[in-house]
Symmetry: C2
Subunit: 424 residues, 2 copies
């Protein structure tokens, strides 16, 4: 069952109806919730007692951290109060109190909504891992022996997670070259990764694993993530300790966090898994989320001539091999603690069919089969001035949900001379 | 030239003389500096204007972050003022004002002194990388092709960096087994790593590399680090994205941070490097730090019978192949930003001779040649109840520096049944 209609004009069919109610943080107003074409600041609502027994302190801060830490009861209280206040059944005095607080959603300046204490990125799509195995290790078994036993993952750089809209500068680095030694310069294989991040709400204690059955008590919501990747830098550096500078220059997170509660109608049975999951990854009712993901690209030329971003990939989040709950249980199985605002990405979400690959290295076979853009340009990897847009949708019709987008423009690299070795 | 003597009783020869003055944070008093057997709270000094033009706000917080962010001028001001106040040449009224503030250093309860926004670990010892290559990939070239071209590194978990003294619980995880499939349970190959971490002071802007020549303007100090490692968990999980749960359960940092200024007399010419460093890693005057490092181990039996920790390794930090400045320049070469309190570890510091290996996997050849302890016990890897102590020293004689130790006891793993899969 989904929530009913809202009295907010334009909410119906917008993807931001009463069923959705994603949370963000505005630079001026602090925590806000989106409803249709509007955003509603939460501070004045909580301060005047209109959010049930919500603690005003949850929203009197420049992040969602305190609200996230308050736990599932708090999340349900606030979501329930907002659905009542914004629903067509709201009492007129309440509606009159709320209506003047609404601001246009497109006028909101969204900040990074949480303090990302730690950012982990998984590799949970079997199609992505298989595609990369075929491209990077042709002629061998594409999936490594550990892949079906645990969700492979690694830590990324928390301090370079940026909010959607932040431009991303092409990194310099030591690039692997097909012939000859590596050379330092701008990445020639800058890529996007179409991902969904899960946002931790309630933290955990160091030394104490969180059993998979209690994951839901810790996880607040999901948001789109673009894990920008410089493939040539990554290819040279990554043995034996994994990706480092090929990833750490920037990771873009949507400004709107969709609560897991909003996605309850879109839960699906988890994927078939063979072999049977290890004990710490096994649960009686594994679930996946039925989100349809898309990546689009708009070159500078397209932008200048008014051509909208062109879709380059479409995949399904329910195709993920390792579920969100398994990712989380694995992350804490060794006793590692989590904090409110911690993120873990799904890894690139690719599907089984052509056009469903969530990165350019897969879509173009490492540049061998470039994509043709509407402006006539070819893309093996990203060009300066390209804007990448990630979107996701759950459901259809007036009640569907549209996740907050992730958008970022590629800026040219710094000249190498300016960045390096003036003392030579 | 080093600083002169202090009027504080017992400072001479303690390793914590006027030349040292490391910073920490006491649970009650906040930021403190160590001098001899005493600790001196900085809040009352700054509040009464005794630290020159130091801003009292730098110390009116529960971390060193604000002081670190204030930069090299601030660090020099405070260090200079402390050396005057605590030196034998101090004016009597000043000495009388300072003396009542001193507290016993061993009564201080040190907290994690900085907010670790991001924690990176390098792999910068050529002896360590060579030893591991020989053990893990026998019969092949031990150093991978990238190793001499860049400081290989990866991101660790910032949220599980703990201060010295915090017990460390043995992690459960999927362990690689020589025969048969992996199995979930307590690590059987729990190891220490003898490392030195560098603490970032001044942050940098996203998208803007920090040239190696400007590293000194950003780096505040160094501290010992034990990068606990579960080798069997790491061995199964680490391909292709690097170490994850084999490391993320805990990383122990010394409570006292030694300013780089204190180590100026112990700077040595940097190591020979072949091939010539890449442009972003090259500098006219590469420097290393002449620190003598030791790792010691005390079993529960030794502790019960009053036997002190026994030295198991001694190595030299100046043997490191990649310098601190190179590590830092590399970390930011792709435009990744840093924040005050960010850490980067050197990686295990091993020397070229037997007994200088900074981890048990090297010392015991992955358990094949166990160490004999004074209590008659053997150690291939760490046992429950073992206490690991890391120490470091610069110089000799009355002026020598003793870095703050890192100490941690191994607690038994949680029973696996309690941690996992109750829903099966």
């Amino acid at each position: 069952m989904t929530a009913g209609p809202s009295w907010v004009q334009g909410a119906e069919g917008s993807g931001f109806g009463l069923q959705h109610l994603p949370f963000g943080v505005d630079a001026a107003a602090g925590p806000v919730v989106a409803v249709g074409p509007a955003a509603l600041p939460l501070r004045p609502l909580a301060a005047t007692g209109r959010l049930g027994d919500a603690d005003a302190a949850w929203f009197d801060t420049p992040t969602l951290d305190a609200f996230l830490a308050a736990g599932p009861g708090a999340w349900a209280t606030v979501r329930g109060a907002l659905q009542r206040l914004l629903g067509v059944g709201a009492h007129l005095p309440e509606r009159r109190a709320v209506e003047p607080l609404l601001v246009p959603r497109d006028g909101v300046r969204l900040l990074l909504p949480v303090t990302v204490g730690d950012y982990v990125d998984f590799y949970a799509s079997i199609h992505h891992a298989t595609n990369l195995g075929r491209i990077l290790r042709p002629g061998t078994e594409p999936l490594l022996p550990n892949w079906r036993h645990l969700p492979v993952g690694y830590h990324g750089r928390a301090g370079t997670v940026v909010v959607s809209g932040t431009p991303v500068r092409r990194p310099n680095g030591l690039r692997r070259q097909a012939d000859g030694p590596p050379s330092f310069g701008p990445s020639r294989e800058l890529d996007l990764e179409l991902e969904v991040a899960t946002v931790v709400g309630v933290g955990s204690e160091l030394g104490t694993p969180v059993p998979i059955g209690r994951a839901a008590a810790h996880l607040f919501g999901v948001a789109l993530l673009n894990d920008w990747s410089a493939r040539d830098i990554q290819a040279f550096e990554y043995q034996p300790l994994g990706p480092f500078l090929g990833k750490s220059f920037a990771t873009s997170l949507a400004g709107w966090i969709t609560p897991l509660a909003a996605l309850a109608p879109y839960r699906r049975p988890g994927p078939a898994q063979d072999p049977r999951p290890e004990p710490h990854l096994c649960t009686a009712d594994p679930w996946a989320l039925d989100l349809r993901l898309e990546a689009s690209l708009q070159s500078a030329t397209m932008r200048a001539t008014g051509v909208p971003p062109a879709r380059i990939s479409a995949s399904g989040f329910a195709d993920l091999y390792w579920t969100i709950a398994q990712q989380f249980a694995h992350l804490t199985a060794n006793g590692a603690s989590v904090r409110p605002g911690d993120l873990f990405g799904s890894g690139t979400v690719s599907g089984p069919t052509p056009g469903s690959e969530g990165s350019l290295i897969e879509l173009t076979r490492r540049g061998e089969r470039p994509l043709r853009l509407p402006d006539g340009g070819d893309r093996g990897f990203l060009a300066d001035g390209d804007v990448v847009v990630l979107t996701a949708r759950a459901g259809d019709g007036p009640d569907h949900l549209q996740l907050g987008e992730v958008r970022g423009e590629v800026l040219p690299a710094w000249p190498v001379d300016a960045a390096t070795c003036e003392e030579r």
